[in-house]
């Protein structure tokens, strides 16, 4: 295998605490994503998975360690790393088409040759069609449903042909049905696009269904707990989620998340609730023990 497309070496990140003492959020993260690999990152809330993605995007600076994308160390955000956020970041004052072409107007792309410009146009058109957005081309983001908005966000992040696509719970705000549609669309898109992706989610099923590899982060401070290889190719269908191998893998990953979770189930509270429920059923003349 050639050099990884994305590599994190002993990456650490501290945030300033209330009393000025730095609080470590991530510590000693080693992780790679090879060419065209789809890596999902899951973990209990507060494990720093979103922070990790923001570090790769260059939106926050690492405290220690190095992040490399295509061999170059990350220093600030750049068009080689596309990012899709949980909430839509489409500019509401631009139409879908103008949003897609936003990056074209930037100084970074000013020196494009006429060939590159025509390729850019063709690529925008192709992404628009592939994502089923041709109809809403002239619409403003506020006129679209949440699912449609996220499709445009993904298309916009891909249009500049980034080395890696970073997605931070992109479907977290969508309803279950729309999310399933989006999953199949993303599988289809990545089969055609062959882009490397880092995908942060709290939904383990989503992670397995989309990814080649699932990385579990443990919290306090965030560190890599385990890595799980997903054995299926990209041609996947919803039925896969019902297969026993899929369910087993899901169980394994969930067990890891639970084992590392900072928020341990409050057994005392659950027990007292159970006692309360029993007492009530006795009062109501219930026969349940």
């Amino acid at each position: 295998m050639n050099a990884p497309r994305v590599s994190l070496e002993r990456v650490g990140k501290d945030y300033a605490g209330h009393d000025g003492v730095p609080v470590p959020v991530l510590k000693g993260i080693d992780m790679t994503a090879s060419d065209h690999e789809f890596v999902a990152i899951v973990g209990a809330s507060g494990c720093g998975k979103s922070t990790l993605l923001r570090l790769v995007a260059g939106l926050d600076d690492v405290t220690s360690g190095t992040i490399r994308v295509a061999g170059r160390p990350v220093a600030g955000p750049g068009p080689d790393r596309g990012m899709v956020f949980q909430q839509s970041t489409l500019f509401p004052w631009l139409t879908v088409w103008q949003n897609l072409r936003f990056s074209r107007g930037l100084a970074v792309n000013a020196e494009a040759t006429s060939l590159e410009v025509s390729q850019y146009l063709a690529r925008s058109e192709a992404l628009l069609n592939m994502m089923g957005l041709a109809r809403v081309r002239e619409s403003y983001p506020n006129q679209l449903s949440g699912g449609m908005q996220q499709r445009v966000n993904i298309a916009r992040a891909l249009v500049a042909n980034p080395e890696v696509l970073l997605m931070d719970e992109p479907f977290g705000a969508l309803d279950a049905q729309t999310r399933e549609t989006m999953h199949d669309l993303v599988l289809h898109l990545f089969a055609a696009e062959k882009t490397t992706a880092l995908f942060v989610t709290h939904d383990v099923e989503e992670a397995i269904y989309l990814a080649d590899r699932v990385v579990v982060l443990a919290p306090n401070p965030g560190r890599v707990d385990s890595t799980h290889v997903v054995p299926w190719g990209r041609a996947r269908a919803q039925e896969l989620k019902l297969e026993s191998a899929f369910v087993t893998l899901k169980g394994e990953i969930l067990a890891r998340i639970r084992a590392t979770s900072a928020v341990h189930a409050d057994h005392e509270l659950l027990a007292s609730m159970a006692v309360g429920a029993r007492a009530q059923s006795v009062r109501e003349g219930g026969t349940n023990p």
């Binding site: 995007a57 260059g58 939106l59 600030g76 955000p77 750049g78 068009p79 790393r81 596309g82 990012m83 956020f85 909430q87 970041t89 500019f91 509401p92 004052w93 936003f102 990056s103 107007g105 930037l106 100084a107 970074v108 792309n109 403003y140 983001p141 506020n142 916009r156 992040a157 500049a160």
Partner: protein, 287 residues
């Protein structure tokens, strides 16, 4: 879903009654509901009624001589005073007042909007300018009159200066707030697409806060008119505010009414103009 089903059943059960007064029955139900929409006709009708009702009360009070004419002239007196003033240069007074307000307001925009943008966008600008701006903002504009006369003189400049002082600090603080409220994620999205600082400022911060800025200008235009009378206390010999002060000296209550009503009407016209402009310029905007 449940509510909709219940609603359908009700209409079906209503029989012939629902055909006779469906809209009325529904709107009567909804008037008491918070944020319930009403028809355009009803909206327009109520707006006219909102003007006519006080006018009717006013007319009634003067028709029954409940208050002396010196304190409350009748609508007819005010109308007569308007006609008299019209013959005696009302348009000239209105024109000069509009000029002063617009000049002071435009100057305040030219200085206040960019300052607000920078204060909202850059923390160091905020640290440098916001505390002093907040300090000066609470000083009453009318208290500056002696200083303005001393520094600017008693020409047109001093009236424009008072209106400028009255609104510029408000514009700064409101624009800065609008910029701060622009969600971080728009800026971050632009950065990840490779935008530089200047481009983010121009293509995201500026474009993204335009609707709020036009709204802020609309509100401040209203405030600029309220400073007009104050401004025309400064050695003026023309203008609506000056005429009102003059009328006060001669106890010409009807003329005071005319002046106040005209200022109100011009203010309303500017407000409607800004609203129409806003709708035209920002079809995408949803507050």
């Amino acid at each position: 879903m449940g509510a909709a089903t219940v609603g359908t059943r009700k209409v079906q059960g209503g029989g012939s009654l629902q055909q006779a007064v469906p809209a009325q029955g529904r709107s009567r139900l909804r008037l008491g509901r918070i944020r319930a929409p009403i028809s355009k006709t009803l909206y327009g009708g109520l707006a006219v009624a909102g003007f006519l009702l006080p006018l009717a009360i006013w007319e009634a009070i003067s028709a029954w001589h409940l208050v002396g004419r010196l304190f409350l002239p009748s609508p007819a007196d005010v109308w007569g005073s308007l006609a008299h003033w019209y013959a005696g240069g009302l348009l000239r007074d209105t024109g000069i007042s509009v000029y002063r307000v617009v000049a002071g307001f435009v100057l305040a925009c030219l200085i206040g909007v960019p300052l607000g943008l920078f204060i909202g966008a850059y923390k160091w600008c905020e640290a440098l300018l916001q505390p002093i701006n907040d300090f000066v903002r609470y000083m009453p504009a009318s208290a500056f009159i002696p200083l303005v006369i001393l520094w600017v003189g008693i020409g047109e400049g001093s009236k424009i200066a008072i209106i400028f002082i009255g609104v510029v600090f408000q514009i700064v603080v409101m624009v800065a707030d609008a910029v701060r409220k622009l969600p971080d994620r728009y800026l971050e999205a632009a950065y990840t697409m490779g935008a530089r600082e200047g481009e983010v400022m121009k293509l995201v911060v500026w474009r993204g806060t335009w609707p709020q800025i036009v709204d802020i200008l609309r509100i401040n235009m209203g405030w600029a008119w309220t400073y007009l009378v104050v401004a025309e206390m400064v050695a003026a010999d023309s203008g609506l505010g000056f005429a009102i002060l003059q009328a006060q000296r001669f106890l010409d209550t009807a003329k005071i009414f005319v002046g106040i009503i005209i200022i109100g009407l011009i203010g309303l016209a500017f407000d409607l103009l800004f609203r129409a402009l806003h709708k035209q310029m920002f079809p995408w905007y949803r507050p």
